[in-house]
């Protein structure tokens, strides 16, 4: 893993078309601005982790009879 140290207002460019800027730092919270091609999917890592979690939970579904529920 490449590790870089950045200050507020500084940025990083990836592959010419993605830029990541450090907008502000307040305590342990960093605000990041990302400029990337519109087709590029950007999401917070916890969304993938939570999706893995919900998928694994989903297969434990009890067998149910929906029409019998009210």
């Amino acid at each position: 893993m490449l590790v870089l140290s950045r200050k507020k207002g500084e940025g990083i460019t990836l592959d010419q078309n993605i830029t990541i800027n450090i907008l502000s730092i307040e305590g342990d919270r960093v605000r990041i601005g990302i400029t990337a091609p519109v087709d590029m999917r950007i999401y917070r890592n916890e969304l993938l982790e939570e999706t893995i979690h919900t998928n694994r939970e989903a297969v434990n579904a009890p067998l149910l009879n929906l029409s019998a529920l009210d």
């Binding site: 999401y43 969304l47 993938l48 939570e50 919900t54 998928n55 009890p62 029409s67 529920l69």
Partner: protein, 159 residues
């Protein structure tokens, strides 16, 4: 062909198998799934692995159940499933059903997009405030049972 499913043996055909080249998050090692109907669970269908009979994810066609479900699928994501026509696109969302089924939720942030014609699928992740990972869906499902709904199994059948 006969496949083993969570619900017993099931008859299916090659052209109903959906390939997930990168698997499904949490089940990356499984690539071949079919959509099956189980008795008494409609409009919930099951995305059943044909490689591991114990793995069947309950799914719904959210567009037919949740009125304002609206997502933006990127061009490259459609290319990933080699979609040529929007008519072949089937979108499913995974449902988590706890012991108390009334508390079931649906993952609206991670739709499973399927090219029903070619049988290629992928679960994508969309980071948007209006798309919760655990959206309570029981009431909407109950309401849809009162109305008509399309048949996901038919939608997934390839021409």
């Amino acid at each position: 062909m006969i496949v083993e499913t969570r619900f017993g043996t099931s008859e299916t055909s090659e052209n109903k198998i959906i390939d997930f080249p990168s698997g499904i998050p949490g089940f990356e090692e499984l690539h071949k799934f079919i959509i099956i109907e189980a008795e008494n669970t409609k409009p919930i269908y099951w995305l059943q692995s044909i490689e591991n009979k114990h793995i069947a994810l309950p799914v719904i066609v959210s567009f037919e159940i949740i009125n304002d479900y609206n997502i933006n699928i990127r061009e490259n994501e459609l290319e990933d499933i080699r979609l040529e026509s929007k008519d072949d696109l089937l979108i499913l969302n995974v449902v988590v059903i706890p012991e108390d089924a009334r508390k079931m939720t649906v993952n609206l942030a991670a739709p499973v997009v399927i090219n029903a014609k070619r049988g290629i699928g992928k679960q994508i992740i969309i980071d948007a405030a209006e798309l919760p990972l655990r959206y309570p869906v029981y009431e909407a499902i109950r309401n849809s049972l009162k109305g008509g709904e399309k048949d996901a199994c038919t939608l997934a059948e390839k021409g």
